[in-house]
Amino acid sequence: MNFSWDLLIQGFGSALGPVNLFWALVGCLVGTLVGVLPGIGPSSAIAILLPLTTFLPPTPAIIMMAAIYYGAMYGGSTTAIVVNIPGEASSVPTAMDGYEMAKQGRAGPALAISAISSFVAGTLSLVGLTFFAPVLSNFALAFGPPEYFALMFMGLSLVISLSGKALLKGMIGASVGLLISLVGQNPLTGASRLTFGSEDLMAGVNFISVIIGLFALGEVFVNVEQKIALIVDKKKIEWMPTWADINQCWGAMLRSTGVGFFMGLLPGCAPAVTTFVAYDLEKRVSKHPERFGHGAIEGVAAPEGANNATCSGGFVPLFAFGLPTGPALAVLLGGFMMYGLQPGPLLFQQQPEFVWAVIASMYIGNAMCLILNLPLVGMWARIAIIPFPILGPLIVVFSVIGAYSIRFLMFDVWVALVFGVVGYLMRKFRFPMAPLVLASVLAQMLETALSQALVISRGSPFIFFTRPIACAFMILAFISIIRGFWVQIKYHRPEALEESDD
C-alpha cells in the first residue's frame, strides 16, 4: 500500500460524486444523532444499518458507515457537556470541564470548541492516515500483551496522580473501580468472583452504568437538594466561542491529535484511555492547571480532539491488516466482509479506487460534520437553560434508558441507581471520580493483558521491564505516582482534607 497523489485525487473525484456525497451526508447526520441519543452507540447503529445498505454498491455503503462512526464522535460530547451524561467512557473527561462550562453559561463555546477540535484533530489524523499508513501499521505490531498492560497501567497512574492533593482518595477510587469490574464471571476462566452469593451479580457490573450513575444521577441528586431553578448559574450566556477561546486551544488540539492518533493505532485500548491521557497532558502543560475541572476550555478541546484522532487512527490497522481496534470498527469490518472486501495489504492493490474513495470521503465527511454541528450548537446549548425541575427528571429518564440499553437488563439500571448514590456521596466527601471511572473501564482489558503477558513470560512479572516499550511505560507510571507522594510529603499538605479537583 503505497501512497500516490494520483490515487488520492482519483479518490476525491469519486468521493465528490453526488451519490457518494449524499451517503456521506446521511452517515454524518445519522452519526451525529446516534452520538447524541442515549442507548444507541456507533457500533449498534452501524450494525442496525448494515443489512439496510445491501442495495448500495460497496463504496457508498462503506463511506456511509464510516461517516456514522466519526459522526457519532462529534455527537457524543453533546450530552456530556450539556447535561453531564457521558454516553461512553471516552467523553468522561469532556464532561469534567464541559459541564462546568455549561453551568457557567458557556455551553455554546464548549460545544463549538468540541466540534472544532474534533474537526482539526480528525483532519490532521487523516493526513497521517493518508501519508504514513504503511510505516505506522508496523508500530501497532510492536505491541504485545505486556505493552498493553504497561500502557493501561500508565494511564491509570497518570489519572491517579491527576487527583493532585487527594492522592490517597485517587488510589482508593482506582482500586475500587477495578474491583467493581471484576465482579461477576471471569471472562478467561469463568470463575465467578466477588458476587457474595448474589445471582444478579454474576452478570457483572457494566462500566457504562457506573458512569451514568456517578455523573448524571449523582449530579441530579446534588442539584435537587438545593432547589435550584437553573443549572446555569450566570445571567450572561455565551452562544459561541470567541477567537480568544479558539486561540487558547490550538496547542491542546495539536497535542491531543498526536496522542489520539498514535494511541488509535493500537488495537484494544481505544478512545477511553486516549481521552484521559490527552486531558492529563493538557493539565500538566497548562500554566494554570488549577482551572481544569472548573471549566477550562482546553479541557474540552483536548479529549474531543483525541477522541476523533483515535477514531481516524483506528482506520490504519483496519485498512492495513483488517485489524479492528474497537467494537465499532469491528462491525465496520463486518461490513467490508459482507461486500467480499478483505481489508489488508492486498486491498490496496486490488481495490485502490475503493480505499482511496473512502479515505477521501473522510476528509469531506469531517468538514460536513463541522458544518452540520456548528449551527446545532445553539439548539443544544439551549437545553442547559431548561428550568431544572423539568430538566432533572428528563436527565433521569434518559439515564435510565441509556443504562437499560446496554444489555437490556433492569439490573444495569439498578446498578446506575446505586452509583448515583455513590456519586452523590463522592461529591459530598470530595473524592475524585476520574480514577474510579477509568479503572472500571480498563479492568477487564487490564486483567486479560496481564494474564496473557504472564503466560508469555511463564509467570515472571519481569517481562514488563525487559521489553523496552513496556519498560518505558512502567517507569513513567511509577514516576508519576512517586512524584505525587513526594509533592505531598514535601509540602506537608493534608491531601484528604483539601478540595479535591476531580
Binding site: M171, S175, F221
Partner: protein, 174 residues
C-alpha cells in the same frame, strides 16, 4: 459506599457551628477511610474460597486479593492521616431539612419508576415519573403532564418504533 450522616461526636478542637447537621471533612474522611478499609477486608475474605486450577499464571483470586489489599491500606492510611490532622478544616455541605425532603422524594420516585418500568412499560412509567417529579419540584400540574406526555411519545415513537430498541412495553402489549 453508604456512609450517610451518622450522629457525630466531634473531636475536641473542631470548629463546629450550631447547625443540626455538621460534618467536618476530617470526620468524613475518617469514616470513609474506615468504611473503605472494611470493604477491602470483605473483598479479601471473599477471595478465600476461590478455586484456582493448577498451573494458571494468573489465578482468578490474585487481582481481587491485590486490589482488596490496596483498598484496605489506602483506606486505613486515609483514616489515620485525617485522624492525626489538626488544622483548618472544611465542612461537608449537607442540605437543609427541605433539601433532604426533596432528595428523598426524588430518590423514592426514581426507585418506584424502576420498579414500574417492566410492568407498565418504559413509555408509561416515564410519563408517570416525569409528571409526578416535575409536579413535586415545580408545582405546575399542566406543565408537568405535558412534559410527561411528550417524553412518553418520544420514547414510544423514537426508541421503540424507529430505533427498535427492545425496551419494556408493559403488560398490556403482551
Amino acid at each position: 459506599m453508604r456512609i450517610g450522616c451518622a450522629p457525630l461526636t466531634p473531636a475536641s478542637q473542631d470548629i463546629v457551628t450550631g447547625d443540626s447537621m455538621t460534618t467536618t471533612q476530617r470526620i468524613a474522611d475518617i469514616i470513609s477511610g474506615i468504611f473503605l478499609a472494611a470493604v477491602g477486608i470483605a473483598v479479601i475474605l471473599s477471595t478465600w474460597d476461590l478455586q484456582s486450577s493448577f498451573g494458571e499464571r494468573l489465578p482468578p483470586r490474585t487481582l481481587p486479593l491485590v486490589l482488596g489489599s490496596t483498598t484496605v491500606i489506602s483506606g486505613a492510611l486515609l483514616a489515620m492521616r485525617s485522624y492525626s490532622y489538626r488544622g483548618e478544616d472544611l465542612q461537608v455541605q449537607w442540605p437543609d431539612g427541605e433539601g433532604w425532603l426533596r432528595l428523598l422524594v426524588t430518590f423514592a420516585a426514581l426507585t418506584v419508576y424502576l420498579v414500574l418500568i417492566e410492568p407498565l412499560g418504559a413509555a408509561v412509567a416515564s410519563l408517570v415519573f416525569c409528571a409526578t417529579l416535575i409536579w413535586y419540584l415545580d408545582r405546575k400540574v399542566i406543565r408537568s403532564l405535558c412534559v410527561g406526555v411528550v417524553v412518553a411519545v418520544v420514547i414510544h415513537v423514537v426508541f421503540v418504533n424507529i430505533l427498535q430498541l427492545p425496551l419494556p412495553t408493559g403488560f398490556w402489549s403482551r
